[in-house]
């Protein structure tokens, strides 16, 4: 198990190198000249050349890439923003808490509501309760988050005036973005839980536990749910990773200063270094979340655990 984790952590190196190479290449090939952008159109040729040399843009593509990687690896230096001249890593770290808070609360709600809904559905398949739950989760999955966000603002801010439409510090400010973001994950989690649970409830070992005299509740939550969790955990991990990387629309609508907003602004202003650093950072978090998911698998299912050894 320990060896497996170490192996997986070592795998992070080629993955992140690959990601940074792809992002670096795309940004290198995309139009727009950072030097002109910093100096403005009216700069002299000498000033232009001096800054170009200073920033290393006169060197070949490979050298530029290696310099960038060296900076990241040895100094945790993701470069400076061309627009604000601030350190990219600081820009990310300032916004990270907001994003993490938004993603965590959303996934927490989605899980705590989605799994029980899925279980309820699976134990009463094709009943009225099941139909209602599946309808709600279908709506949750299908309704675009930004549209939901707008509807929430119209109802709770414009009409009722109960909740503030922007910001992300007080709990009142958090309700709407978390809700808007959680519904689609919740729908997905409920549906996956239902199908996985229905599969498991048909298994021979469930009949064994019933024949043993185990009560219904214990059969469902002790014997069945744990077996049904693997696909659910996968989905939760993927959803959480996605939320961390890009609740872009939700953050924008509710004016939350998170990673999503930062990335959108950076792309809009061709702030290459911020885009590059942001993507790399999000990829890093995403792979970490996936690592945690894989470790969770081993915790849940002993068959996977023995594969790891």
């Amino acid at each position: 198990m320990f060896r497996y984790i170490v192996k997986r952590i070592l795998w992070l190196i080629p993955i992140l190198l690959g990601v940074s190479f792809i992002v670096f290449t795309i940004m290198y090939l995309s139009p727009g000249d950072p030097v002109t952008m910093i100096l403005g159109e009216g700069a002299t040729e000498e000033a232009y050349q001096a800054l170009r040399t200073q920033m290393g843009f006169d060197q070949s593509f490979i050298v530029q890439f290696l310099n960038y990687v060296r900076g990241v690896v040895f100094d945790f230096d993701l470069g400076r923003s061309y627009v604000s001249n601030r350190v990219v890593l600081d820009e990310i770290l300032v916004r990270l808490p907001n994003t993490i808070r938004l993603a965590s609360w959303s996934i927490l709600f989605a899980t705590l509501i989605g799994i029980p809904l899925g279980v309820i559905s699976a134990t009463r398949p094709y009943s009225k309760v099941d139909n209602v739950v599946m309808f709600i989760s279908l709506v949750g999955v299908s309704m675009p988050t930004f549209w939901q966000a707008l509807l929430l603002i119209i109802l709770f801010t414009s009409t009722l005036g109960w909740l503030p439409a922007s910001g992300f510090t007080s709990w009142q400010q958090m309700i709407m973005p978390v809700f808007a973001l959680a519904t689609s994950s919740m729908g997905t989690i409920a549906r996956i839980t239902r199908s996985s649970m229905m599969d498991v409830l048909d298994q021979d070992y469930i009949r064994t536990s019933e024949a043993k005299g185990v009560s219904d509740g214990r059969v469902i939550f002790q014997h069945a749910l744990r077996n049904a969790l693997i696909p659910v955990v996968t989905v939760i991990g993927l959803q959480f990773g996605a939320l961390l990387g890009g609740a872009v629309l939700t953050e924008t609508i509710f004016s939350i200063n998170g990673l999503g907003t930062m990335m959108v602004n950076a792309i809009r202003t061709r702030d290459t270094m911020v885009v590059q650093g942001g993507v790399l950072f999000i990829a890093f978090i995403f792979t970490l979340v996936n690592l945690c998911v894989d470790i969770l698998y081993a915790y849940i299912d002993p068959r996977i655990r023995s594969q790891y050894d």
Partner: protein, 315 residues
């Protein structure tokens, strides 16, 4: 007073396309310390008869008619809660697929201790001691190691031994074995059957043994009932049924079972015999008249045969 008395049992499945009468008027009894075999082909209702005893039902399944008495109590009218005290305690079950019948995410120890702690107020130390006893009783080598293992680390034979240990945990009066050796190879099968017979003596447990394998039933049962189409077609003591089978369906089952001891019968011969016997017995008619109770003809002591035939060989 028999330990188990099943009277006129009807078990139905309600489906969208109508009612499926899986068990359609089955009556039998099982005495204490005895083994009763139920034989029949797939779909004959033998497993559903067994499932009805503990009401291990699908959502659309129900006992439509009939009663089941166990140890003097009418358990067919028991509530779910009352049944929980019987299941795994006084009546246990083992199943066909040992490899899939144990929960893959729990250790052998957890699953055995659970059976004990559900029904007996044992502290964990006493339960653990009893668990070791059980593993030794089912002859599991190296119990210290096995107890910590997960089902995927066990072979089929070992899994079935664990299943048997789990079933015997609370010293049940009745063990229902639903094709317990069908999924195992012949050597392991022989070992498990031998073990079951030994444990039956040791724990003084009655066994209801369900199988389609006449070879297995000959080693296990005192009496046999033969089922077809949700009904009993013949019931007799084990020796009688092998010597003096009367019902065409029983004969057909016998023919399908190639006996090497008497005469080497080729598969083709067996099939020829099967179809010639078929002409005497109107199988479709048997199904169509399924609701009518057959007349019973007594052949011998405890040997009865259903007389739902076109031309009955006896009459």
């Amino acid at each position: 007073m028999s330990l188990l008395q099943v009277n006129n049992l009807h078990t139905y499945f309600d489906t969208r396309r109508g009612t499926v009468k899986a068990v359609n008027g089955v009556t039998f009894s099982l005495e204490e310390g005895k083994t009763l075999g139920i034989v029949g082909e797939s779909g004959s209702g033998k497993s559903q008869t067994a499932m009805s005893i503990l009401k291990l039902f699908q959502k659309n399944q129900r006992i439509a008619n009939g009663t089941i008495y166990f140890d003097g109590e009418e358990i067919s009218s028991f509530s779910k809660k009352e049944l929980l005290n019987i299941r795994g305690n006084e009546i246990s079950m083992i199943f066909q697929e040992p490899m899939t019948s144990l929960n893959p995410v729990f250790t052998v120890k957890y699953q055995l201790m659970e059976a004990l702690q559900l029904h007996q107020k044992l502290d964990s130390k006493a339960a653990l001691a009893r668990t070791y006893e059980l593993l030794e009783a089912v002859k599991i080598p190296n119990p210290e190691r096995v107890i910590k293992q997960y089902p995927h680390q066990l072979s089929g034979g070992m899994s079935q031994r664990v299943m048997i240990a789990m079933a015997l945990a609370c010293s049940p009066k009745l063990l229902i074995a639903d094709e317990p050796t069908t999924a195992l190879d012949v050597i392991i099968q022989a070992e498990i059957l031998k073990l079951m017979n030994e444990l039956k003596e040791k724990f003084n447990t009655s066994i209801l043994f369900i199988t389609h394998d006449l070879g297995v039933i000959s080693q296990m049962a005192d009496d046999v009932i033969v089922m077809y189409g949700g009904k009993i077609v013949e019931s007799a003591p084990i020796k009688e049924i092998f010597k003096n089978a009367q019902h065409p369906y029983t004969k057909r089952l016998m023919a399908a079972f190639l006996r090497t001891d008497i005469k080497q019968r080729s598969t083709n011969e067996a099939l020829d015999f099967y179809s010639s016997e078929n002409e005497q017995f109107d199988f479709s008619n048997f199904r169509e008249n399924a609701d009518a109770d057959p007349d019973w003809i007594q052949i011998n002591d405890n040997h009865y045969v259903a007389a739902t035939l076109k031309q009955h060989p006896v009459s």
